[in-house]
Symmetry: C3
Subunit: 145 residues, 3 copies
């Protein structure tokens, strides 16, 4: 039986306004650098106007339609009480609440157990560029080096 370890990391991503930014590669790189073998990866986005999802990484139109769907569910035109930070701020909080703030991803043989068409995405909900940070945790077996 292999002893388990826990590893922590912080991942920063610069966004360019509203959109889906794939972070699958960055997560895979951290797992590889860490020698992670079998266990659980957890990702937490440390913001309330950006969020996470795992979605199709093939046709870019899927992300476009997902963005449109979020716009329709949380329109800027609604009468929000919270207006101080601009018309795109309160819709951003709603979109974050409706998607994911944390994701748990089992890891086997050093690889995330994602399906063929799955990519992990940071979703920027604000109109302007932001620097977003995510807290990463891995708990499991590591390769001895």
């Amino acid at each position: 039986m292999t002893e388990l370890v826990q590893l922590s990391h912080s991942l920063a991503v610069a966004t360019q306004g509203k959109g889906f930014i794939e972070i699958t590669g960055a997560l895979a790189s951290w797992l590889e650098e860490s020698g992670a073998a079998n266990g659980l990866l957890t990702v937490l986005v440390r913001h309330t106007s950006a969020s996470l999802t795992i979605q199709e990484n093939a046709d870019p139109n899927v992300r476009r339609d997902l963005s449109d769907a979020l716009e329709a569910l949380a329109p800027e035109s609604a009468a929000y009480a919270h207006q101080e930070e601009g018309p795109d701020d309160m819709p951003s909080h709603i979109k974050a609440m409706l998607t994911s703030v944390s994701l748990g991803i089992p890891v086997v043989d050093g690889k995330m157990t994602l399906g063929t068409w799955q990519g992990v995405y940071l979703i920027e909900h604000r109109a302007s560029p932001h620097l977003r940070t995510m807290a990463l945790s891995f708990i499991g077996e590591v390769v001895r080096r």
Copy 2:
């Protein structure tokens, strides 16, 4: 103090088109077979047009209303850019984004800490039958046998 272990498993479920399929029993069976005692169970669905939720397992009308609510939030009639895989595909991605792709469930004395009325469900969003796989992870104490 008991040493912790990590266990991995793959769970496959055949769906019959749109609907909620309860997987609580399958998860409980894996925990029991594995000798899982105290720790954390994580479930990840490896698809982008099926998803997960924990919801009431008593009145079947609840799942019917939940399905209707998802249909209203992501109607097939909307003008999607992504059309190649049929009218039910893009709504499926939206529904998956709005529900859950992964769930973390604490386990105590070998049992998931679900409430009385909670069941764990795979939600099939596509109209046709699919074989869906989920990655399971348990990290914690196991019973020695």
Copy 3:
């Protein structure tokens, strides 16, 4: 290398009808009492008409707008098949499905890795007061005392 442990706890919160109740402090207290140092905290709400989110803890208007958004997405006025438990029950299940039932939060040096403006909230979706319980799990390194 420090040996990992797993800890379990149950957190009960009395709600006063619909609203967001911050539980960040209660989670931090449990971590501190437990000597949790580095690892992963998981919170599962054990109900299907209450749920979890991590959202802005500054302007109270944000929670008001979030509540309004959930009301709009799951109106009491819709024609639900499930009516036996009152007009606020089926909307509660929908709101729970659209938000989070479990959250994974990496812990570093005994602190949750939340961003500056993030608070963890239990969302009560029912109109009347309820006693809600959450299952907590910590897996990681603890301080020896």
